[in-house]
């Protein structure tokens, strides 16, 4: 698709920002989605191409503004929903339950 991900040759993106001594993962949630998505792909026989295409469908502004591993979360949710393995409703419900528990 002619999506926002197809960036080659675009202008306007400014300097390449590099972090000194950058860690492999910046947050624990990044580690976690990295591990989860890789293993889920194996278990559900999801090809990397499916995940890439799901990510391509992110709303363009979100794609550009979000940290990289949020793309992975988006791709995981989308493909798992398409396959009926984890529905958005289930995930919303579980997230809300955990938020409530953690607020106590």
């Amino acid at each position: 698709m002619n999506g926002i991900h197809d960036l080659g040759g675009m202008h306007g993106f400014g300097p390449i920002e590099r972090e000194k001594n950058e860690p492999v993962f910046h947050e624990d949630w990044e580690r976690r989605i990295f591990g989860l998505l890789n293993l889920t792909m194996g278990a559900a026989q999801i090809h990397v191409d499916e995940i890439r295409h799901a990510i391509e469908k992110m709303p363009p502004a979100e794609y550009l503004a979000s940290p990289y591993y949020e793309h992975w979360l988006y791709g995981a949710e989308k493909v798992l929903a398409e396959l009926g393995l984890v529905t958005p409703e289930e995930l919303d419900k579980r997230t809300a339950e955990m938020a409530k528990r953690e607020a106590k």
Binding site: I16, R18, E19, E27, W29, R32, L39, L64, D92
Partner: protein, 200 residues
Amino acid sequence: MAKQSRTEPPSTPALRIRALESLLVEKGLVDPAAVDEIIDIFEKRIGPRNGAKVVARAWADPEYKKRLLADGSKAIAELGFTGLQGEDMVVLENTPKVHNMVVCTLCSCYPWPTLGLPPNWYKAAPYRARVVIEPRKVLAEFGIEVGPDVEVRVWDSNAEIRYMVLPMRPEGTDGWREDKLAALVTRDSMIGTDIPKVKA
């Protein structure tokens, strides 16, 4: 992701990912210990020191270098660096006439077994957009200049071939042991945004 009303704070990815993990575990799709393991592998056990060993071997051993350039996957496998996102490797030789750079304009494809996981700058829009159209400006931002008589080749990793640059061996390293040579090889020099040199 669920639509957010403007009065609710956004759920952080952290909570949503914990929720996702709990569901995937309940459904028998993932084992949390296996998740811990794959994280550990890529955080601690696989990284650019692997690629540096490949480069150092090629610098020290001309026959290995020939094999590496003829069949990257096979030669890299001699050192044991095989696997996920590096199954099909091509190694690109930098020469006085040719400077190679690697990108994935469409996403973040990168040779994990030799270089580990990519840095954020490789995966973000500025590098992906700019390196194919203005590689010399990008090199200048990295503090690298190549002359007008040098050909800059930018390799877009859009399929499943994974690319790694074999940088030129710096002057003043004759007779150096491989481990000392490997210490000169920076991660960025194997992407093509750096050039190894002996510190003065």
